[in-house]
Each structure stands twice: as structure tokens, then as C-alpha cells.
Subunit: 405 residues, 2 copies
Amino acid sequence: MALIVQKYGGSSVADAERIKNVARRVARTKDEGNQVVVVVSAMGDTTDELIRLAYQLNRRPDARELDVLLSTGEVVSSTLLAMALEDMGYKAISLSGAQAGVKTDTAHSRARILKVDPGRVVRELERGNVVIIAGFQGITEEMDITTLGRGGSDTTAVALAAGLGAEVCQIYTDVDGVYTSDPRLVPEAQPLAEVGYDEMLELATYGAKVLHPRAVELGELFNIPILVASSFTDNPGTLIHGGASMEVRNKVRGIAHDLDVAKITVVGVPDRPGISAAIFVPLANAGVNVDTIVQNASIQNITDLTFTVARGQLEKAMEVVGPIASSIGARECVSDSHLGKVSIVGTGMQNAPGYAARMFGTLSEENINIQLITTSEIRITCIIDESRVKDAVRALHRAFELEEP
Amino acid sequence: MALIVQKYGGSSVADAERIKNVARRVARTKDEGNQVVVVVSAMGDTTDELIRLAYQLNRRPDARELDVLLSTGEVVSSTLLAMALEDMGYKAISLSGAQAGVKTDTAHSRARILKVDPGRVVRELERGNVVIIAGFQGITEEMDITTLGRGGSDTTAVALAAGLGAEVCQIYTDVDGVYTSDPRLVPEAQPLAEVGYDEMLELATYGAKVLHPRAVELGELFNIPILVASSFTDNPGTLIHGGASMEVRNKVRGIAHDLDVAKITVVGVPDRPGISAAIFVPLANAGVNVDTIVQNASIQNITDLTFTVARGQLEKAMEVVGPIASSIGARECVSDSHLGKVSIVGTGMQNAPGYAARMFGTLSEENINIQLITTSEIRITCIIDESRVKDAVRALHRAFELEEP
């Protein structure tokens, strides 16, 4: 008898009919002889509606109160799913994050899970129950309710799978799994049957919206296989795990992109120690999230320093950097907010320079100008003009033969 | 510095504007130098909507799950009120019933409060917080959430007032307090400035909808003065307490009525021991709530036995009583579903037969036929034809001079 953790997102439990659909899927897994733990998100737009209400009453709602408020959304969907299962003749019980033993730190609205005490969940499983757990929430040592922020329910599911020693964590959502690229951009994009944790992490961080990086990291840490699949179809989905076969690894796995990129270049910076700190420490203090940083080799002790930020933070970043640029003797400070990012991701490229050459060559053939390049061990990213991102993704998808099933 | 418990009902917190209105009232009480504990109901129709959702998924939803579901409604309004108070510059914190120490038995959907452990509430008050508590809910010894059923938030408020030793429990609702009669029926009905617990209990049980009898009983048990007033006006409301002055007590306090009455008469019952039990034990087992019971003096060892039930239970009651009537040798079993009840209530009538005479005389003058009479120490109730209830209430209101302020 295997123990399986399933997670269903907000769109999968948006109304009574969809909750019944989820109940049928859970029942099927139970009928196959498994113990089943289910993590649910809040129904549809519930969380947004609660946030809207909160801001009607207070423009800066207290973080503790907001967490208590938002946590009710997942409690509602967990009880409703339990009722739907009971209606089909299955034993089921709903538990809040607190009851399920999800212990977090005290960082309200973006708490991190410290540990999972699965005692109550195990007892309920032993009683033959399907255990439905409210996702996105936990409890501090002082018994205050917290929420986990973006990707919280995915993270809850993987953390419970780790705490319970589950065989697999299945994340059901409104897409069919992880694709070689965004199917809305590249119609010939192919679903991936499997992908490595590192690759998924690069894909997730660099623009794929399917699964939050926190959940992938946690899966890798505890070596929990994660299946991402649709709750609306019976397509097989994508299995994210550590043991992808050698042959499969030796390839570009997917093309990620991001359209929300702005660039700042500090031109003519004297190349001496402490310059980077002088720029990036004040930016961090101002809450600006700097992404890619590139510093060119200096010529006659003068260099250019370029970095990217999300478009919404460009104005604030310029306000911080402008005065600093003058004070350190830089020539000027220029920005461009119409940029995008395109990345090729795959464990196979680790020791194979041919991938970079093929990427740059493909973009060149398309007459796409590369403004910045950054790489990790399993990823190459080019920053290009926003208007050419779509062309770049499609050309790269073809060049790396990802349209072949 | 006095400690005051306030309770606001669902219509008082139905939307953001009304929650702000409540926050201003709470703030005023705090500004007057009091410690304030607030108990809130769920917003407007929230509870009904959650119940509707539950029944879409399961025609007989599990009581434990339903309680978890419904308890979220009060948690939402409690956090929103805390946010509204913080927005006005007041320190506030919301607590669930469980966090506020409301311990109940395990009777889901109609739990009784066993005790209140006010430790956390006291600590939060000492920190200068207004403490907002989700009403209508508690927690069992096994840490399962329960709800208290009808009148639950009123009961929460009075129980907390008792547990905290509060000076007064103020119940804010959408009516101006307790009236000498239903103002929709009797335009000249007057608000009562004060009323005794026993009188309020008779008024509440016998048709006044203002405050649930459970809350009144609890107030009497712990001698907590309860103010019932409107959250929409500054009218003084009605103070329910044990020490009403002698002069005020020596009067009829109000006229209650109830339009939901059906009557069953078992005709020609042999008058021997065990007959009542033979009828009423099976009725209780069938879940029929019997109200008034009247047995006439027997003539030649034959008597008639009459009792009333709510109209919705008449059919079931007849199904139970019919066969029993035959088996015990009664002549027949007849029913009437078009009845109403009218009561005069007042501590003053205790040793004064004049009240009964004046009541019967008034109904007689109005040509209203009395079908049954029952009395308690402070109440006289007549069961009459439904179509004459309105006339009876008005006539009695005049006869006992209740229209005088």
C-alpha cells in the first residue's frame, strides 16, 4: 500500500462541480489501494476577494490578522472536499495546517516551514481516512496562524510528502504538465514526461509558471518525486525527480522566457574594490530585487556595470543608483525597460560548449541582438529586446529540436 | 477601568462600511476608559451561503466538517474588525473561539459551553488590545472545532463576560432593544429600559426574537447584566438584569406571541398511570419537540390530553400518536394547525390573580375564543385561533396600559 500526497489548486476546486470532480479523482487513487493525503488551495478567487475586503478596511493590514483571514479560504475548501468524499461513501477528514502539524517561523505572509509533525495525519490515515489538509498555512510555536506566501500550497504538499515519507507528491493544476516551452507562444511545444529537479528549478525560476521553485527545492532536498499534471484531463503529466536517465539528460530540456525585464547600466565606472558593494548594498536596503548582474572586463581601469530588475522596480532602482553613480565618479547611468529574457535549460549542456554556440547562432540568424548573457551550469540566458522574445523562443525551440515528441 | 463585552450580530458586520461603523462604536467604548472584548457573528448571509455549498456536495454533511466550515465565517469578520480598529490607530487582535478558551462538549452543530479559559484574552487585554473574538464556536477537549447552534454568538458573549468577570455584556443587533410587544404588530409598543432575567426568558422563549434564551439563562446564572441595543442608533436599549426595582416589577412587562402553533388532542383517554409516558416518550424518541401539554380533569376515568407542537412537526407527531391512541383505547386523535399563542409576561403577576382575569376578560370582549391556557409563575399563555393573534396582542397591550412610556 503506497502513500500518495495530492495537491489541487484553486481553479481545480473553484465550485461545487469541480470539487466533486476532484473527489472522484481522489477516490480513484484510494480505490487503487493507496493511502491518500490531499492538500487543497482556496476556491477560485477567494483569496483575492478576502484581500480586497481587508484593504477596504485597512490600507496596511496587520500581517498576523491578514494571515488568519486568508487561512480561512483553504479551510473552507478542505471541509467541502471532505464532505464530497463522504457523500461518495469514503471516510475523510479535513485538517487545518495547524492540525496537520505544519510548523513555521513567524514571518507572517511569507512563512517558511520549519518542520512537519505528521502524528495526527498518520493516525487519521490508520483509521482509514482520506486526509484533506488546508494548504498555504501553518502555525508558529506560539500557536499563531501563518501563511506561506506564493507557491504555499505546492510547498505544503511537498513538505507533507517528505514528512510522511510518501511515494510521490502529485501536483494537480490547470495545465497538462511542464512543456518544452510556453504552449501559448510555441504551438508545437511538447509535454515533458520527466525532468530533473535542477532543470525544473531553472525552468520555474526563469519563467515557467507551473510549479513554484520553493516546492521544487524542497522536493530535491528530500528526494520526493513530484508529478505535475492536469486535474481536468487524464494526461500523464511531468514527473520531476532526481534520477532522469543519462540519455534524456544529455539534451536541452526546455526554453524559458520572461517578459518583465528592465536593465540599468552604470557607464564608465572606475574599476576599484568596493564599487559593487557601493551600488548593490543600498539597492538591497531599498528592497530592490536585482536579478542578473554583468560587469565587463575593464579597459584602462574603467568598466561598465549592468544589472536587471523587474520593470515595476526600475524607477526606485534609478532613484537609488543615480546619486551613487555620481558620487563614485561614473560617467552616466542609463536604463532600458523594454527587455525580455530567453533561456535554454538542460543538464546535458554542462560540459558541452556547442549549446551556447548553437543558441547564439540561432539568435543571430533571426537577426536578434543579444544585450546581456548569463549562464549557470545547466542554463544559458540571453537578454534581448522585448519585441523579439517570441521569435527567439520559437527559433530556439526549433533549433534544439524540441518539437519532436 | 471597567471591562465590557460587546457582541455584534451578522447584520451589524454585513459589509466593509458596517464593520467600520462597528469599529467606531468599539473605539468610543475604549476611549471612555474601558477594556473592551468584542464578539462577532459572521458577515450577513455568510453562514447560509456556506451551508448551501455544503449541501451541494453532501445532503447529509458530516457534523464535524460542517462545524469547521461554518466556524470560518466568524473568523473572517473578527480579523476584518481587528484591521478596521488598527486602521483607526487602536491596538486590536482577533482570536478564534478556540484561542479565546471557549471549551465545549462534543455535540457538533449544537455544542454547549462547558467552561471559558480566559487566560489568553486577559493577557491580550493587559497588552492594551481590544480583543475581537469569533462567536458561535468553541473547541472540544480533543481540539476539534464545534459550533454552538442557534443563539451561539449571544451565548459566547455572555459566557465570556462571565468568565472574565465583565461589568456588562452589551448585545448589539438591528433592533432597538426589547419592546412591550412586537412593534410590527403593535405600532404603539414601547421600548423597555429594563427587564428581569425571568421576564426576558419568558418573552424570549415565547416569541420575542431579540435575544436567545440560552444567553439569558447564562446571564442569570452568573448574574451578568445584559444590554440589548441597536448598532445603528444611539438609543439606550434594554438592560436585562436581576435587580429590577420593586415598582417596575409589579406590572405586566410585555406581550409575546407565536404564530407557529399546531395542536393535537387525544380524545377519550382512559385515565390510568403510564398513559402520558406511553404518548410522550415515543414522541421524544421521534424528535418531536412538544411544547404545551394540558390534561383536563377526568370524568368517569376518561380524559382528554392536548399538546402543541411547531407546525412543521405536526405530521410526524400524528404518525407517532395515531397508533398509540388506538392501542391505549382512546376514542380518537384530532389536530388543528391554525393556532397561535399569546402571552402576558411580568414578575408582578406572581401573586396577583387579577392579571389572569383581566387577560381573559380582554380576550372575551374581543370575542376571541381561548382554546388552551397554560401558566408559569410570571406568565399566562392563551392558545387561540391564528387569525385572531394580532387582535389579541393589540387588545392586551391596551388593557395592560403598555403604550404609556
